[in-house]
Symmetry: C2
Subunit: 346 residues, 2 copies
């Protein structure tokens, strides 16, 4: 397993139930971690120009979230701001630039969780919402539900005044070519076999991944996590991955940590990745790093791959993954910061 | 919290990695627990005739599953058999007799998990599959996915040869009247308010619940869990509850336990109820009973209610709930058995 763990023993005053004084707030650690998807990301497959584009976009997303935290804003606001930047960028498989499903549409999933209250919101299979993470947040804050699916989620968005975009807004030539390539591979493979019961035998390992996410700790000591994705190229049958599943792709609880996952969603659901990391901290007293590593190892044992980003209430972060690469970055109030793409974090 | 816990210290030989001998198998505990939903079930609201119908249906479901276990069948087969009986009965909010959504359709969700492999399958929002639990199982066994939603799930069902029924098959006069009553209450309440951002202010506490589920331990020591539901009367916006969410409504792992939940789905998702019980056993060494009680207490602290059924690998069972009642039953190879509806288990 490749790991890029950071154990930053930040000075942290015990959480106060009362409002913290300005002096206390000034000393509290804060920061955020972002990811732009994990998978087969090899140095040779990225030209220097494209790599620079990814680094710039990751940096822009990170700074958008960090600026909010620095000004004393909430971790929820920071998570949404960072994810919106990645949704708006055509580079990532979320929002604009999302992958195409088998029918030639972009189907979007997102979820968010508030570590302070354990409130959560999730949407799956929406096609006309520019920033899915903002709709997930609206489900959390403006409905009595946690998860809304498909057209129903869009009817809710309409009711509360969301702006709609045509599905073409999300569609890019790059992703359309990925879909065409996936369909050609599928057709070629289908010729070799007479029948199959699997839904997609010819899974594109490269195109399987690509989710964006952010976890943040604010100056008030509140954690939040969010995840947004277009799912899997050429996906069929209304497949739902881990991104909109609270406990699998996203989890936050002030008592432990905030986690956003990216990887082979089916394994991440079975393991309940995000919640599993928090559960080890809650019930076993594990450190964030040990818990995150153990959970990614479990995913690997079942045959899956991917990674997570996580931050705990003391501002320690972990970014383990067992895939070839993971687009990722973090910035902490200690000054520690990085943007990475390939195997090992520097 | 009302609890009905059974701690049955059954003689249990340590699990063998090799095939067990007939003599060993004969000594292994096995059994199952079922539920037919939790909620406001008061003695005064059930006539003796209706109560007798529920008891007979619960008993029929339990016996269908137990017969399979007794003959040496798998816990997965037992779970599906027990749930199918409840799906086929108009008494429960699953399959035939499911509640109506706001558009006047029955929308069905189900999930299943295999404790031996942690394989899982789930479907949400299907309208034409007679026994949703069998489609959830097919997703687990015949697709590479864990969760399929809506029309996509039905296209998968068609591809693998499932028989379809019209949505009218599920619809009953009793549930139609519940929908009409819910809409009248909603309209009356809407007159008193000029606007609202909530999706359903006038949530029907009585009609909110009603899910069916089964957890089983077979003679081979394998655990399985399954859950099936029609969701919430008058539900809107493609709302997804906990029943199809692996880790919330359903979880099974031979290392710990199998759990199926029923209750106010939003809280059950936020707590990740089924996985939370297993996590306490896995990471903290809690007993099944302590873990199940602690998790239901967490749901209560957040403001939710409902219950779970659970069985561990030694055949101990727990059936805690904090709602007024829960339709439930169990039968174990020790001879212990019960069918209960109201507050306290005898």
């Amino acid at each position: 397993m490749r790991t890029s763990l950071l154990l930053l023993g930040l000075a942290f005053t015990a959480p106060s139930v009362l409002l913290a004084s300005d002096a206390e707030l000034a000393n509290r650690p804060f920061g955020l971690v972002i990811h732009g998807g994990a998978g087969v990301i090899e140095r040779k497959s990225l030209t220097p120009e494209v790599e620079a584009q990814y680094r710039a976009a990751l940096s822009q997303a990170r700074e958008a979230g960090y600026a909010i935290l620095e000004k004393g804003g909430t971790s929820l606001d920071a998570v949404v701001a960072a994810i919106q930047v990645m949704e708006d960028s055509p580079l990532f498989n979320a929002g604009k630039g999302a992958v195409f499903n088998a029918d030639g549409f972009c189907d979007l999933d997102a979820s968010i969780m508030d570590g302070r209250t354990q409130a959560a919101g999730a949407i799956s299979g929406v096609r006309r919402i520019k920033n899915p993470i903002t709709l997930a947040r609206a489900v959390m804050e403006k409905s009595e539900h946690v998860m809304l699916a498909g057209e129903g989620a869009e009817r809710f968005a309409q009711k509360i005044g969301f702006e709609f975009v045509p599905n073409e807004y999300f569609q890019t030539d790059f992703r359309r070519k990925q879909l065409e390539a996936a369909k050609l591979r599928e057709a070629a493979a289908a010729k070799k076999k007479t029948s199959s019961l699997t839904t997609s035998d010819h899974f594109d390992r490269v195109a399987r991944y690509g989710t964006v996410g952010c976890v943040a700790l604010d100056r008030q000591g509140n954690l939040a996590a969010g995840t947004s994705t277009g799912g899997m190229t050429n996906k069929k049958f209304g497949r739902v991955g881990d991104a909109p599943i609270i406990g699998a792709g996203t989890y936050a609880n002030n008592a432990t940590c905030a986690v956003s996952a990216t990887g082979w969603g089916e394994f991440f659901i079975r393991v309940g990745v995000a919640r599993d990391i928090a559960a080890q901290m809650e019930y076993k007293g594990s450190s964030l790093a040990d818990a995150a590593n153990a959970t990614i190892a479990k995913v690997g044992q079942l045959g899956g791959d991917g990674g997570v980003i996580a931050i705990d209430r003391e501002g320690r972060v972990a970014l383990p993954f067992n895939s070839v690469g993971m687009y990722r970055g973090f910035k902490l109030s200690t000054g520690a910061a990085a943007i990475e793409i390939f195997g090992q974090s520097k």
